[in-house]
């Protein structure tokens, strides 16, 4: 084939290919239109986020939320008891019981709660 014959042959083939474009599946056309809209919306956002789809954006926010919750779940149980005002006192009472300084029956004594509230006790 010479160059002119090639061009003619290609032109005839392109007629078939162009005719094929009209017969594209409706779902494909919808998907292409959606892709175009997405690209243009991306453009109007000023291209702040590179190639971000709604799914990946949600996923990113979801991951951030899970990370924050995990950190909170790990630190709060450690931090919260230490902040309770009676935590240290209870610790001292436990030490007193273990060392024999306090009798185990102290807890069933009616005056024990009042005794606990006295300042300066069990703090040696």
């Amino acid at each position: 084939m010479n160059e002119r014959e090639e061009r003619d042959y290609a032109a005839r083939m392109m007629c078939h290919l162009n005719a094929g474009l009209d017969g594209l599946d409706r779902n494909v056309l919808k998907a292409l239109a959606a892709a175009r809209r997405h690209a243009l919306e991306h453009r109007s956002e000023g291209g702040a986020a590179c190639h971000r789809s709604p799914v990946s954006g949600d996923f990113r926010y979801g991951m951030a939320a899970v990370t924050v919750l995990t950190i909170l779940a790990a630190t709060v149980p450690m931090w919260w008891p230490a902040q309770r005002p009676d935590a240290q006192e209870t610790g001292h009472l436990d030490i007193g019981l273990l060392t024999g300084e306090l009798p185990p029956a102290a807890y069933i004594d009616e005056d024990f709660p009042a005794w606990r509230r006295l300042p300066g006790l069990c703090r040696s």
Partner: protein, 188 residues
């Protein structure tokens, strides 16, 4: 600066051909859509401020590079798959062989029946199959030159090769297509 409407109009003009071109190469509808969408995004994101006359060239270049990337990744993936292939069941191999036999029988039978070729949709399918079978660079040179109606210098710029190379690729593509279609009883 170009407006949103101009960009929309341009993308609407090229999207169907772009989709088909990519589909010929990747043979998968979803992958083709992904590649076209990414090319649209890239054009809007990086080249929105360029003059509208430059968009066709830029878009084709983005698309061409995306296709090359896809094929590179596929080659790497196929390499690892080929390493694992001997571990597959013999049943799988038998099934593949029978499918190949069916495909070749179908292809040889198709060429012998000129009545089938008379149907327009079948002619279209045969042309598309023949285009899909071309080597990547031949297919790109041929489609960019004749379907996108770019001149040789523009195609060379998109493909990153010389004008002579574009002419050679498109000549070989037409030659191969003409032979394949003739073998199937189709004369354009």
């Amino acid at each position: 600066m170009a407006t949103q409407e101009e960009l929309d109009r341009f993308l609407a003009q090229v999207e169907r051909r772009a989709y088909k071109r990519v589909l010929y190469s990747v043979q998968d509808h979803h992958t083709a859509l992904d590649i076209v969408q990414n090319a649209m995004l890239k054009l809007c994101e990086r080249y929105r401020d360029k003059p509208a006359e430059e968009w066709p060239m830029l878009f084709q270049r983005i698309l061409h590079n995306a296709l090359l990337d896809h094929h590179r990744r596929a080659r790497v993936r196929n390499f690892w798959v080929s390493l694992v292939a001997p571990l597959r069941d013999r049943d799988d191999d038998a099934a593949t062989e029978s499918l190949e036999e069916l495909a070749s029988a179908d292809a040889s039978g198709h060429g012998q029946d000129p009545l089938d070729a008379a149907d327009g949709r079948q002619v279209m399918a045969v042309i598309e199959a023949a285009i899909a079978e071309l080597p990547l660079r031949q297919r790109q040179a041929f489609l960019l030159r004749y379907w996108e109606e770019m001149d040789v210098a523009e195609v060379a710029l998109v493909m990153g090769c010389s004008a002579g190379s574009v002419k050679t690729h498109s000549h070989r593509a037409i030659d191969a297509l003409a032979r394949k279609l003739k073998a199937k009883g189709i004369a354009l």
